[in-house]
């Protein structure tokens, strides 16, 4: 077994753009759940709305990239309104069920043959990245970074993705030490109490839902630019619960929690994959086949989610006193 390459691969996940995407989605979810107490089970759909909003604007309406990004963000805000208006007045578990249902509806809508001329149906869309890659200021070439070497385009999207993570994290940090953030935390603790103090709880919840959704949408855009295509099956509920695992791993009501959580999550995922594959290749796990190793990884994600919620709801790095979960 090549331990060095396994560790290198795992280490590479630390700064991979995919990690950054999940971190952005998790920061958004920390605004929803960690600070406001909203059980959003449709975070993957927020990312998808942003990604499709951008891709469709570029391909169908020939909008320049920045305009398309803006349209994607507006679409995400509208999605938050559609989701929030009927459900944010209801009990928390209704929001959970409606968000997961809506995210599936969105996926069905993107898959259906009827809209395929615009959405690409189940094949999805591609060829929308030309303007983005043309913006790359980094000269063509290979760049060494520690043990890794990246092409100029890889380096570009890594830097951009983590810059966006930094922007999201700073925004959350600024907001959560402001009186606005105080109201959100109050709502998380007891919305009736906050209402009785004269705050428009519904408006705050909508604002939080929109803000967290915007972060996820940015993440979704980076994801599809990195992949060069956007497909409906990339945004299933499994992705949503991976985001939840990332968030809960790091600590739901902390600024750095989602970042650390995302890094730990993907490094561990890569390590288990590497080590188990290595063991299977070496014939040490005779009862497993190569594809089953990939399946076991998902099983472990589920198990991690369970154990985290049961034994460490404040996350590995969260403040025990500020742990979450009411009711």
């Amino acid at each position: 077994m090549d331990w060095l390459s396994i560790f290198n691969l795992a280490l590479g996940e630390l700064i991979s753009p995919i990690t950054a995407v999940f971190v952005m989605c998790a920061i958004g979810l920390s605004v929803h759940f960690g600070y406001t107490g909203l059980l959003n089970f449709g975070q993957a759909a927020f990312a998808a709305v942003g990604a499709y909003g951008m891709a469709i604007s570029i391909l169908t309406f020939k909008v320049p990239l920045l305009g398309a990004v803006a349209i994607g963000l507006v679409a995400s805000a509208v999605f938050a309104l559609i989701l929030g208006i009927p459900t944010l007045r209801l009990r928390a578990d209704y929001l959970a069920i409606v968000t997961i249902a809506t995210s599936e509806v969105f996926r069905y809508l993107m898959t259906t043959i009827g809209f395929a001329p615009v959405t690409g149906g189940s094949n999805g869309l591609s060829q929308f990245g030309a303007e983005f890659w043309a913006m790359n200021p980094i000269p063509v070439g290979e760049y060494a970074l520690g043990p890794f070497s990246y092409r100029h385009d890889q380096l570009f999207i890594i830097i951009l993705a983590w810059l966006l993570v930094a922007v999201c994290a700073v925004l959350v940090w600024l907001l959560m030490r402001s009186p606005w953030g105080r109201v959100l935390k109050g709502i998380r603790e007891d919305e009736d109490a906050v209402r009785s103090l004269g705050k428009n709880v519904f408006a705050y919840k909508i604002q939080a839902l929109i803000l967290g959704g915007l972060f996820a949408s940015l993440g979704g855009m980076v994801f599809v630019l990195n992949l060069s295509n956007v497909q409906p099956q990339s945004w299933g509920t499994t992705i949503t619960f991976m985001i939840w695992t990332v968030l809960l791993l790091g600590g739901a009501a902390t600024v750095l929690g989602p970042i650390v959580g995302g890094m730990v999550f993907f490094v561990l995922l890569s390590l288990t994959q590497g080590i188990m594959s290595g063991l299977v290749d070496a014939g040490l796990l005779p009862f497993l086949t190569a594809p089953q190793v990939g399946q076991i990884r998902f099983l472990l994600i589920g198990l991690a989610l369970m154990l985290l919620v049961i034994f460490r709801p404040q996350g590995i790095f969260g403040n025990k006193k500020e742990l979450q979960f009411n009711g």
């Binding site: 578990d93 069920i97 409606v98 086949t289 034994f311 979960f325």
Partner: protein, 436 residues
């Protein structure tokens, strides 16, 4: 709220690992049998080879010479079914593929039982072989009058609604007595379907014997889940939202356990289709029997809840657990019984669903949202509400295809759910909550 210094923590850990062990024991016999089965039915795929395959049969007779068109990820290939009705194609890499059956190449008078499903999607990302099934039957391509279509769709809706009701009542009873929104419920449906496949189609047990064993094991599975996971968590006073997320993690664990042990291909629980025609409705004996069983089971649940002491106690616990406890009802015992009943009902739903529509590791997960929609529509926590909600969802799913593309039929039912919550948040039969 969680208390980390809870003395039951270690106990919970022990119980939890015991649960995992039991799963391991439960499934340990499977890989051998599935391997044998693979030998018997098809050539096993060498490691690294990616295969999409299937068998075409009409009335248990193989159908030869049908052309399949497989596309995806820059791949484009064709396969033709042989004398035994089998076809297969090797694809170059992992990904999602589309399989389209060429309807022109079907024999005269033979058509798809699901006329709108001539294109199927296969996910070859995590498995190396995928089976695609196109159930054949009478050619339905002849356009029927709208009135007949309505009758046909309504019948299908009734059938689906009854199946959903069986499984949804379990969710509803569990929610009512414990407050848990159980996201791992879909896997109980899958469990029922795949276990029956194993016992009946693989081990050759008589279908009825297989079904009875499956229901018994499903009931036991329900009991096991409560005893080893949920009861310890209730003792820890884990919050309901926390429990909901635990159930999500648990559903992922169960789902991938089933994938690992049953593999990803779609299983045919029974090849018997014996077609029946009732007016314009083209159905099968299996479907009719299934509907009969569903009605009987639902009636039995209604009787249990309204006429027996135990059922009345269960409803009392749903109404107000602490009040019920104060009147001398053993709440934990009631919850245990509810889990057993829910397990049995949901296992039965899995069997009936699998017999009619086949099953794979994602079957239950695919209908989970329809189940939640049913329960929420009817009003969380009432069994009657869940039944009514399930019937509505069943009808909406099937009738929607009269007006909109069929690949949006699940979406239609979820949109109905959202609209209902807008105008009547407590559900169709739910009561308004008293505040303060």
């Amino acid at each position: 709220m969680n208390r980390l210094m809870n003395p039951s923590r270690t106990r919970a850990t022990v119980v939890f690992s015991a649960l995992m062990m039991m799963f391991a024991v439960l499934f340990s016999s499977l890989p051998a049998t599935t391997a044998n089965a693979a030998d018997a039915t098809a050539t096993p795929a060498p490691i690294g080879q990616l295969l999409i395959k299937g068998t075409l049969k009409n009335n248990n007779e193989p159908v030869a010479g049908v052309e399949m068109h497989i596309t995806g990820d820059a791949f484009d290939g064709k396969a033709t079914s042989g004398e035994d009705g089998k076809w297969q194609i090797e694809v170059p890499k992992k990904g999602t593929y589309k399989v389209e059956i060429n309807l022109e190449t079907l024999p005269e008078g033979v058509g798809l039982r699901d006329a709108d499903k001539s294109v199927r999607e296969v996910d070859l990302n995590i498995t190396s072989t995928a089976a695609v099934l196109f159930p054949l039957g009478k050619d339905m391509r002849v356009v029927q009058p709208f009135g007949e279509q309505v009758v046909i769709r309504a019948f299908a809706g009734l059938n689906l609604g009854l199946l959903l009701a069986l499984a949804a009542i379990g969710i509803s009873l569990i929610f009512g007595t414990t407050g848990l929104n159980n996201f791992a419920h879909g896997e109980m449906v899958t469990f029922g379907a795949l276990l029956t496949w194993l016992l009946h189609a693989q081990l050759g047990l008589d279908l009825i014997v297989a079904a009875v064993i499956t229901i018994a094991l499903s009931a036991g599975f329900g009991w096991l889940q409560d005893a080893s996971l949920w009861k310890p968590l209730r003792k820890r006073r884990l919050g309901l939202n926390q429990m909901m997320i635990v159930s999500i993690g648990f559903s992922i664990v169960l789902r991938y356990l089933m994938l690992i042990f049953f593999e990803g291909d779609t299983k045919v629980l029974s090849g018997e289709f014996s077609p029946v025609e009732i007016g314009p409705i083209d159905t099968t004996v299996t479907s009719l029997i299934s509907m009969g069983i569903s009605v009987v089971a639902l009636a039995a649940v209604a009787y249990f809840l309204t006429r027996t002491r135990l059922g009345k106690a269960a409803r009392a616990v749903s109404d107000n657990a602490s009040l019920a406890a104060a009147t001398g009802i053993d709440v934990e015992r009631i919850i245990r019984i509810i889990w057993v009943v829910a397990g049995a009902l949901t296992g039965l739903a899995g069997i009936l669903y699998g017999l009619q529509f086949q099953a794979n590791w994602l079957t239950g997960f695919a209908i989970l949202l329809l189940l939640f929609a049913s329960v929420t529509l009817g009003g969380l926590g009432t069994a009657l509400g869940a039944t009514v909600g399930a019937m509505i969802i069943g009808f909406v799913v099937e009738m929607s295809s009269l007006f909109m593309p069929t690949d949006l039929k699940y979406a239609a039912s979820l949109i109905i759910l959202i609209v209902v919550l807008l105008v009547r948040p407590q559900g169709v039969l739910g009561k308004k909550q008293r505040i303060g």
